[in-house]
Symmetry: C2
Subunit: 124 residues, 2 copies
Amino acid sequence: MIELNFDKMGGLLPAVVQDYETGEVLMLAFMDQEAWENTLSTGLASYHSRTRNELWVKGKTSGNVQHVKEIRIDCDDDTVLLKVEQVGGAACHTGHRSCFYKKIEGNEIRVIGKPVFDPREVYK
Amino acid sequence: MIELNFDKMGGLLPAVVQDYETGEVLMLAFMDQEAWENTLSTGLASYHSRTRNELWVKGKTSGNVQHVKEIRIDCDDDTVLLKVEQVGGAACHTGHRSCFYKKIEGNEIRVIGKPVFDPREVYK
């Protein structure tokens, strides 16, 4: 088992999630030891839900799981980078491909792109 | 001023840093309100150093600053994505282009790429 440093954030570390083909950054989530081990053993991107305080296998509800194609860790072993295949084409609960769909332009926020799915249909 | 949500991590939020041309994820750091405002007003990627507990204008010591080309924020305004031009070609203090130079292969860690600079020369 590869040991990561979960100490800096009280048992959590950030995971950056990138599309394995396009390089687009899809989302950022947090992992604890359980989520890290579950990701390694299942090949499905797994995080720790801070709001529900439990293991969160991304897409378990919607079916839009993330198949992990590559895992990188950073220089001081306290951040994970996942390169994933995003089933359903959208990582964001809003239906956007990426959670980072808001671009700062001066003092304005401009929305980039349109939702891939209607969240009301996916999360009934 | 665009308002971000710094509450979830006690005044900090994660910032993902990506090369604006290649899409390579270079590093992850944390911002507080001061770092966010400094980034917006100067165009230089600025973070909050957790170890020194102060504003950290990336590259101020080494000269390897990050010119911010684009700023995205995520769906719930608690994560920033910076697309930057990395002066000097390397974002990592080890001299690697990206901090994510360690790839997980089974139970092994494989180092990807070679350092661009010798950190002993840059940080004297």
